[in-house]
């Protein structure tokens, strides 16, 4: 019964399918839909925040209005109860203003920080989902910067920028309406209630906003150019100093100096230009002009003494206008930030909606690994490029065989491995397993059965346990240990300070090339692949490591189809088939013995080795003796 349970459990595990997850690119229609979704993702927070924002806008103009009322009361009634009430009201307005401003800002902030968090995750998920075609042509540094800095910029467009712009508009709107309304309070009035002034102010503010917008539009591009140039200066110096030995040994210091001076000059030029463009902020002058106009007209009205305007109202009016200047001096920066946020959103959206050449089948077909693996007239060029890396490649690999892949740099070896992992699809021709075209199987299902141990072994800065179990996160400790033992790395792991919990890398243990490779083998063992791809070109090792590696690899190859790129001659000799590639074409396919006999490139390779000539000669001799070959 116990056994049954275990098999059941196992069956459940192997039946794993791809977890359904809706990507942002599926959820949102367009960049604008995505960018503005920040307003609707947390509707509760946003609604309350906006409510308080409106309350706050009204309350924050009260002190200015009440000041004028106070002055008028003082003038007509003198220092008394009403006057004191007004003073107390101003103080209350200040306190309530602080509270509403806090609530509105904080809630908005929370919603925006959440938005930033969400879009960063969305971006990360989408980019991870993109095929290797995408990752090959995109600089990972730029992707990282998008994930971190540009999402940050988008958040900055929301918090504080959009909120402050809305707040600025509201205060402008309210200040303008102060010039239109006239509400009696006792014997006094609140508001100017003068249409001509009101219209003038409305016109003035419209001009103000328009000019602020023009300013932001003009300065925005140059700021971005500035950022690009700064990036250039930074990467120029990174480059040189990382490769300082190369620079020195070719005596190229002067050339590099000259190159850098040019880059630096270009940046200086942009700094100057930016300064020139942004120095004259014309809306500020508009503000001066209509404060002056209101001042003059106000004085005139007060002087008429026909009740059109009191001294208090004049003071209120001026206070409100001056207050607006103070409140809005950040307006252009905020407008710029929103603009920048949208540009960043556009860039990110374009990356997220990358048109993937790899198309997943609607329904994934089953793979039957007891059938032969067939390359049928496969040609391949990297997406967007014309040059063929594989040219009309055809071969058949019987199930369970060990295949060694041989060929010079650029012969197409690694491309064959990538195609088998379905990191790419053939440009023409097809790869079959039995009758099943690999295109008809989802990448998830292909990779479930195919495992690659790559040349530059990538391990995560995590524990031994996590690194080995990376291929199977639900693996038990027992399974992990078994894999480690089979990969000949168990004793080593146990001798480290924290055993399987010891961290690999900068914060823990430093590994040699041979050790890294054995960890990768343990990781691959745990994946229990049907087809193993091994790019075996390790760093120089000593004989003990070599033997451990050979044993580990033997464990890994045992009982499955394997395709191995190797520098190990012993592997070549031991393999069932050797596939020899040159410039993207198959030049031979056969056993070691067969190649030794008929393939001149193979003979050439062996002849360079000590005892290699002997081997070839021996072969020739044996051929003389038994003409049909062994």
């Amino acid at each position: 019964m116990v056994t049954q349970q275990i098999t059941q459990k196992k069956a459940y595990k192997t039946e794993k399918t791809k977890p359904p997850r809706q990507l942002a690119t599926e959820k949102y229609r367009s960049m604008n839909h995505w960018f503005w979704s920040g307003l609707t993702r947390y509707p509760g927070l946003m609604f309350i925040s906006i409510t308080f924002l409106i309350i706050n806008a009204v309350i924050s103009i009260l002190p200015g209005v009440l000041l004028g009322l106070g002055i008028d009361v003082l003038k007509t009634e003198g220092y008394g109860r009403n006057f004191i009430i007004i003073v107390v009201l101003i103080i209350s307005a200040a306190l309530i203003g602080w509270l509403t401003s806090f609530l509105s800002g904080y809630l908005w902030g929370i919603a925006s920080y959440r938005f930033e968090r969400d879009i960063r995750e969305e971006f990360f998920d989408v980019v991870q989902e993109h095929s290797m075609a995408f990752h090959d042509e995109h600089d990972s540094g730029i992707l990282l910067s998008m994930a971190m800095n540009e999402t940050n910029q988008i958040r900055f467009a929301y918090h504080p920028s959009i909120r402050q712009v809305v707040s600025s508009f509201l205060s402008i709107l309210l200040t303008t309406s102060y010039f239109f309304i006239r509400i009696p309070i006792g014997s006094e009035f609140i508001g100017v209630g003068n249409w001509p002034i009101g219209l003038m102010i409305t016109f003035g503010f419209s001009l103000y906003i328009f000019l602020a917008w023009v300013y932001a539009r003009r300065v925005g591009p140059i700021r971005r150019e500035l950022a690009t140039e700064l990036g250039n200066v930074s990467s120029a110096s990174q480059e040189t100093f990382r490769g300082i030995e190369v620079v020195r040994s070719f005596d190229n210091e002067k050339t590099e100096e000259m190159k850098f001076t040019q880059v630096s000059l270009r940046l200086a030029d942009k700094i100057r230009k930016e300064g020139y463009l942004s120095s004259f902020y014309w809306p500020a002058l508009i503000m001066v002009l209509f404060t002056a106009a209101s001042f003059g007209i106000g004085l005139w009205f007060v002087l008429q003494d026909n009740g059109l305007m009191s001294v208090g109202q004049l003071s209120s009016m001026l206070t409100l206008l001056i207050q607006l200047v103070i409140l809005n001096f950040m307006l252009p920066i905020r407008l710029l930030a929103i603009q920048a946020g949208r540009i960043n959103a556009r860039r990110i959206w374009d990356v997220m909606t990358f048109k993937d050449p790899l198309i997943e089948p609607v329904k994934s077909k089953k793979l039957d690994w007891s059938r032969p693996l067939v390359f049928q007239n496969v040609s391949f060029s990297y997406p967007g490029k014309e040059k063929l890396v594989l040219k009309d490649v055809s071969f058949t690999i019987p199930p369970g065989s060990r295949v060694a892949l041989l060929g010079g740099p650029g012969s197409g070896k690694s491309t064959i491995l990538k195609l088998l992992l379905r990191l790419y699809d053939p440009t023409s021709g097809a790869i079959f397993l039995g009758d099943t075209n690999l295109r008809e199987v989802s990448t998830f299902d292909v990779r479930k059965d195919v495992t690659l141990v790559e040349q530059d072994i990538f391990l995560f800065g995590a524990s031994f346990k996590d690194n080995i179990a990376f291929s199977k996160p639900e693996a038990s400790m027992e399974e992990i240990k078994t894999a480690a033992r089979r990969a000949q790395i168990d004793k080593f792991i146990e001798s480290t300070p924290k055993g399987y919990d010891t961290i690999i890398g900068e914060r823990g243990v430093t590994l040699s090339g041979g050790q890294r490779q054995r960890i990768a083998i343990a990781r691959a063992l745990l994946a229990e692949p049907k087809l193993l791809l091994l790019d075996d070109s390790t760093s120089a090792v000593d004989i003990k490591t070599e033997i451990r590696l050979r044993l580990a690899m033997e464990e890994l190859i045992k009982g499955r189809t394997s395709i191995i790129v190797t520098q190990r001659l012993s592997t070549l000799v031991d393999s069932d088939l050797i596939l020899f590639l040159d410039k993207g074409r198959v030049i031979d396919l056969g056993t070691h013995e067969e190649l030794l006999e008929r393939c001149s490139e193979y003979q050439f390779m062996l002849s360079l080795l000590p005892r290699g000539k002997e081997l070839i000669n021996k072969k020739k001799e044996s051929r003389v003796k038994t003409p049909k070959g062994g």
């Binding site: 800002g105 200086a268 002056a292 920066i333 990779r447 005892r611």
Partner: protein
């Protein structure tokens, strides 16, 4: 000034505060050297800003006077040049005056921004160029100790910070002026009670800046830390994307990233809480001050309406410089820190200069080491009493365990990146200390183990050693060493841009490109540190054949990892712990059955077709050594300064690691007394 700023950025800059090692006068003096060319402009800018602040003070006074001028209860009659002005004229005059002054202020302010941006652009460029030129000519010793990221920060952000500091300095001067004049105006024009109310707002401004520079700084550091962690996770995931894809683990990494991202969000939320409590306080306090002034005005009864108005406006204006100033001083400190670091660079020791009697290298390219002793830190000898002679055109293989001193001997000393302490190195009959370095470097070609490629096309990378080479020459070289096939197979052939140090190329391909680069420069003496990540069998045989043609007629030093290389060598030098223990041909040394024979058995033999006796080797199996990273050693208390020094000398601690260790140590020290 300008329209930049934002409290968040200010706190960010304060958070960068680092200890300054030089006294302020020294820093200011150094800075003044760079100001020389800009004194005129700076004085002008400062003068314009002061004039601008004056208009800012005058504006409210005009408004206030205007209000009072039309107040019949004050009964003032204004007489200008003997003419009594009508009220209507007064209004016109005041309004015009306000417009003129306002526009004038606007022009002054804009001009200042413009002037300063010119100064900033030119000055930053000047400093940047100096720093860069200094660094590129600095001693290898200095450059190796600094990580390239740090060096870039010196060139980019620190130089920028210096000029920002200058702006902050001017702004402080202006704000102080504004503050003092406002005070004076208030003192002259308003009763002392209102002065008191204004002064009463100072503590609030100080509180504000105190909170921002303490709690705010801590939160910003926290945000940076969590931000860095998320960033590290994403960087790692992108770097390992092929692995996660191969094992279908994208979702797993996603959820790991989510956890870290949530931490960053929580920190940001704290920042939002603090900012939203503190920032609205400014306008609330200024409203309260308004109320207090209004009340005082009513209570005193002797104050005119114009004065009340003036009081409220000035009070609002008063609060800003106080808040600004209290944040500016720590900012200035940050900038001085940057000046300090820039000075570090400018005072760094330059690379080894040519001897006054230095001569160009002659035509004899034999190399001899005579009793050479060398150490990176004058304490731990990396090479001890090395003596050997290599004839022109010979190929020497250097063999020995990691840390034996092979790389130091070939790549660092012969190129004269470092000078030896004792003994002499000669090329032909010339001591390398007496050879003009330009001619030395021209004669020597270095192919380091870690191939370094620049972000440029493959063609440009190969031409790096010989800028005037024709494309044809490049093609010929590449054909010769068998690089043409794979380069032509690259997406854009020779025009393919190498990105991120060559991530689209295999280690072997990168190595072959660097070989092509060196060969194009046609050096007479060649130093090759073989890449440890080996090529596959066939590629290796191709490279091997290419190398045979290349090494011909050149004096060649190879730090050998390949079996084929030691077979080809004329002479093998065996190093152990900095000493030369054996020297001779392969056959001679094998016969000797000494260290070389051992090394051959363990490292090289099995690379060929030799069978290995698995049983025999496994019998004598021993434990593999566990090598902890320096950081882990430190956490376990296994490191002391002595040990670190030793490891740095042995090359076991990289500059980047050293930086981290120092940081960790400083943190530990800071913690201990509290604990």
């Amino acid at each position: 000034m300008g329209h930049g700023g934002g409290a968040g950025r200010m706190i960010g800059r304060i958070a960068d505060r680092k200890k300054v090692t030089r006294p302020t006068p020294v820093l200011l003096k150094a800075l003044s050297k760079y100001l020389k060319g800009f004194v005129g402009l700076l004085v002008l800018a400062a003068f314009l800003s002061l004039a601008y602040s004056a208009t800012q003070i005058l504006n409210p006074i005009i408004l206030s006077n205007g209000i009072d001028a039309i107040d019949p209860s004050l009964g003032k009659v204004i007489v200008w040049f003997g003419v009594t002005l009508s009220e209507r004229t007064i209004i016109i005059i005041y309004t015009l005056f306000y417009v003129l002054l306002g526009s004038f202020g606007f022009i002054l302010n804009s001009l200042t921004t413009r002037l300063l941006s010119k100064v900033r652009a030119d000055m930053v460029h000047k400093i940047r160029k100096d720093v860069y030129n200094k660094l590129i000519n600095a001693s290898m010793d200095y450059l190796k100790k600094e990580q390239s990221g740090n060096i870039t920060a010196r060139i980019t952000s620190d130089t920028d910070e210096v000029s920002t500091g200058l702006q902050v300095f001017i702004s402080i001067a202006v704000q102080l002026f504004l503050l003092v004049t406002t005070l004076v105006v208030i003192l002259i024009r308003l009763p002392w009670q209102i002065v008191l109310i204004c002064l009463g707002s100072i503590p609030f401004a100080l509180l504000l800046s105190f909170v921002l520079s303490t709690i705010g700084r801590r939160i910003v550091l926290g945000i940076r830390q969590t931000f860095g962690i998320v960033s590290g996770k994403i960087a790692e995931s992108f770097a390992g994307i092929a692995v996660s894809k191969a094992f279908n683990q994208e979702g797993n990494l996603s959820s790991q990233m989510r956890v870290l991202n949530q931490e960053n969000y929580k920190m940001s939320k704290k920042f939002g809480l603090m900012m939203n409590i503190m920032m609205p306080l400014i306008s609330s306090i200024s409203s309260i001050v308004t109320a207090a002034i209004l009340w005082m005005g009513g209570y005193l009864a002797s104050i005119s309406i114009g004065q009340i108005f003036l009081g409220t406006i000035l009070a609002a204006q008063f609060l800003r410089p106080v808040a600004h100033l209290s944040l500016s001083f720590p900012q200035l400190q940050t900038s001085l820190g940057a000046v300090d670091r820039v000075l570090d660079v400018l005072e760094a020791s330059p690379s080894i200069p040519d001897a006054p009697d230095a001569e160009p290298l002659g035509n004899d390219y034999s190399v001899s080491f005579e009793h050479v002793w060398f150490s990176y830190d004058n304490e731990n000898w990396v090479l001890k009493d090395i003596t050997f002679q290599v004839e022109e055109g010979e190929m020497v293989a250097l063999v020995g365990e990691t840390g034996a001193g092979k790389t130091t001997l070939a790549s660092m000393l012969l190129t004269r990146f470092y000078d030896i302490q004792k003994g002499s190195i000669k090329i032909g009959a010339q001591d390398i200390k007496k050879i003009a370095q330009k001619s030395l470097r021209k004669a020597i070609g270095l192919i380091p183990q870690e191939p370094y490629l620049f972000t440029a096309t493959v063609l440009e990378n190969i031409k790096y050693g010989k800028a005037d080479a024709t494309d044809e020459e490049v093609y010929t070289i590449c054909k010769m060493i068998g690089a043409d096939t794979f380069i032509e197979a690259l997406p854009n052939g020779y025009q393919t841009v190498v990105r991120e140090g060559g991530k689209q190329l295999s280690a072997g391909q990168r190595q072959i490109i660097t070989i092509a680069r060196t060969m194009l420069a046609d050096p007479k003496i060649l130093i090759l540190d073989e890449a440890t990540s080996r090529l596959d069998a066939y590629s290796e045989s191709l490279v091997q054949v290419a190398q045979r043609t290349l090494f011909k007629k050149r004096t060649t030093f190879v730090i050998a990892h390949r079996l084929s290389t030691i077979f080809d060598a004329n002479k093998i030098i065996v190093l152990s712990h900095g000493e030369l223990v054996e020297m001779g041909s392969h056959e001679e040394l094998i016969r000797k059955k000494g260290l070389y024979a051992d090394i051959y058995e363990t490292y090289y033999k099995f690379q060929g077709l030799e069978e290995i006796d698995v049983e025999k080797v496994l019998e004598e199996e021993e434990e593999e050594e566990v090598e902890l990273s320096p950081l882990a050693m430190m956490e376990m208390g296994m490191l002391d300064p002595e040990k670190i020094k030793k490891m740095v000398a042995e090359g076991k601690i990289s500059p980047a690691m050293l930086e981290q260790l120092k940081k960790k140590m400083a943190q530990k020290k800071a913690k201990t007394p509290i604990d």
